[in-house]
Amino acid sequence: MFVIGVVGVIIRRNPIVIFMCIELMLNSVNLTFLAFAKYGPATANADPYQHAMAGQMAVIFVMAVAAAEVAVGLGIIMMIFRSRSTIDVDEVNLLRG
């Protein structure tokens, strides 16, 4: 899932789709966290209670951050669409060198 997200960011040209792919990456992180929290870490040295708790808390924080990112990101995309009426990243290319 993480790899699909990364590939998507690299090959797609529409910022909204890129954005969806980034969300995909974050969700894959959440799944990873939950899987590790459920099935235990690869090491035997950790304290199981604290371990599971840390992973689940991490997921909640990641979701909150992802939501904040969506708000800002869609705002930026809207702003660009208003002033150019296109959001294709190949046409947003004033800055280069």
Partner: protein, 504 residues
């Protein structure tokens, strides 16, 4: 190390003195927002004054902790150590200086939105959080607070296509990079069963699968932080965003986001020191590439902000050399070297961008090299300041830039990283060319007369404080270093302490 209980650990006692700087900056931001809401469509002077006062208080709250022993509070979530304190103090100073010259600049660009100040303050708080934790989740949250505010700030000039574009690019690449960082954290968590970097050793013993996970995790974290610190090959966004964003935002970004990223990188590198054999060659290659590419590509640029963007990539490379030297030989090399370099970097970069912000025309940024022509005729002080900052960025003796580079060079050699030291010397030699180009542009007599551009008093003050910072840190090298090391107060040190605090 805490003792592990089956019960969820409650914070037994909270050391508020340690949390105070961050809280002060956050609250100042909130109050600034409230002031803006209460007095809409009026000038922002009150907000500026209030923000600077709040930042000064935060600076004092940080400075009084200097030299105190390392400590954690809030269940290991917050860590105080010398390097973190240096970074926090510099962030506060940098934020105050940015705010000081922003108001007039924003007015001249006709984007004097009061929301600028809360965003800058929160962004600073995010970077401060990054600098003061060893818990990866907290570092990640700090990173996001820093970045999300910066995405908005980069697009502050919303009527201008270039600003919007830089905002979009920064946003897409930035969240892409935080995805990597986060996945690295997840791997680390899987390997060690904890989010705290101090438990890295857990993953090294026993199960070999844990070691593999850990290597991946640390690698992905480097990618994410390397992006924020603008290390080659993750630097592509830097010049674009620096050029497109309003100049004061660029100044802020160049300093604060870099300090935050370097601080977080420092924590990860120090924690990962036991498995140094796995990553040190790769990091050395990255440091060399960063120094060479940053400085070489800067030679080809025609826009001052782009040149400074590439130069900041080069400086990130020098900073990485300092960190690597420390991690490689922590008993021979002091982290104060990197701290000192950050100090000089803060003043010279902020100063350079502040001077460049004077060259706005008709509410737009025109920052090609030719646009600096005739600066000497129009404003002597601006031209002189620009030359001083360039001299310091090059690293010519009495300036702070020289000592910063020199100490890093020395450290790299004594830590046995000779190739890095050689590349550092060569790339600083390359950098002379483009810095001189900027300085020369200011003295070329212009052919077509342009409207006089004068520095506003606030801008003058910012420039002079930065000048003072560069020169004083250069003259008082030993006291400043001793201050950064946090050694107990002595007579000659008092002067530099008050000097530093006074600037906050």
């Amino acid at each position: 190390m805490p003792e592990f209980n089956a019960a969820f650990p409650l914070p037994r006692e909270i050391d508020f003195a340690m949390l105070m700087p961050v809280i002060m900056v956050l609250v100042t931001g909130m109050i600034a927002l409230v002031i803006e809401m209460l007095r809409p469509k009026q000038n922002n002077n009150l907000i500026v004054i209030f923000s600077i006062a709040g930042l000064m208080a935060a600076g004092v709250a940080t400075a009084i902790q200097f030299g105190q022993p390392e400590k954690t509070t809030l269940v290991e979530m917050v860590l105080r150590d010398q390097f973190g304190l240096i970074c926090q103090l510099l962030l506060v100073v940098a934020c105050a200086l940015t705010i000081l010259f922003s108001e007039t600049y924003l007015r001249s660009r006709r984007i004097a939105f009061g929301e600028f100040y809360p965003l800058v303050l929160w962004s600073t708080a995010g970077a401060m959080i990054m600098a003061s934790s060893r818990n990866l989740l907290v570092i990640f949250l700090g990173l996001e607070i820093l970045s999300i505010s910066l995405y908005v700030l980069a697009g502050l000039a919303r009527a201008e296509l270039r600003s919007e574009e830089s905002s979009l690019k920064y946003f897409l690449l930035g969240s892409f990079a935080s995805g990597f960082f986060l996945y690295g954290i997840a791997m680390f968590y899987g390997a060690t069963g904890s989010l705290d970097l101090a438990f890295l050793a857990n993953g090294l013993t026993g199960n070999p699968a844990a070691k593999t996970l850990l290597v991946f995790g640390i690698g992905l974290m480097f990618v994410g932080l390397g992006f924020k610190a603008a290390l080659v090959p993750f630097h592509q966004w830097t010049p674009d965003v620096y050029q497109g964003a309003p100049t004061n935002v660029t100044a802020f970004m160049a300093v604060c986001s870099k300090i935050g990223a370097i601080a977080a990188l420092f924590r990860v590198l120090v924690a990962a020191a036991p498995m140094k054999a796995d990553w040190l060659p790769a990091m050395m290659a990255i440091a060399m590439l960063t120094m060479i590419v940053g400085n070489a590509v800067a030679l080809l640029q025609k826009d001052v902000k782009r040149i400074l963007g590439y130069s900041s990539i080069g400086h990130a490379g020098y900073l990485l050399v300092g960190l690597l030297a420390y991690v490689n030989a922590p008993d021979q090399v002091s982290i104060a070297t990197t701290g000192y370099y950050l100090l000089s970097y803060t003043f010279m970069t902020l100063g350079a961008f502040a001077v460049i912000s004077v060259v706005t025309k008709d509410g737009r940024d025109t920052t090609r090299l030719e646009d600096l022509n005739g600066l000497w005729q129009r404003d002597r002080l601006a031209a002189v300041l620009l030359v001083v900052f360039m001299v310091s960025l090059i690293g010519i003796p009495p300036s702070a830039g020289f000592f910063g580079k020199f100490f890093i060079f020395q450290d790299a050699i004594s830590a046995g990283l000779v190739p890095l030291a050689i590349v550092l010397a060569i790339s600083s030699a390359i950098s002379v060319a483009y810095y001189l180009q900027i300085a020369r542009a200011a003295f070329v007599v212009e052919t077509e007369p342009r409207p006089a551009m004068r520095m506003s008093p606030a801008l003058r003050a910012t420039g002079l404080i930065c000048l003072l910072g560069v020169v004083l840190a250069g003259i008082l090298v030993t006291p400043v270093q001793r201050f950064l090391m946090g050694t107990p107060a002595e007579e000659p040190m008092e002067a530099s302490t008050t000097g530093l605090v006074g600037k906050g």
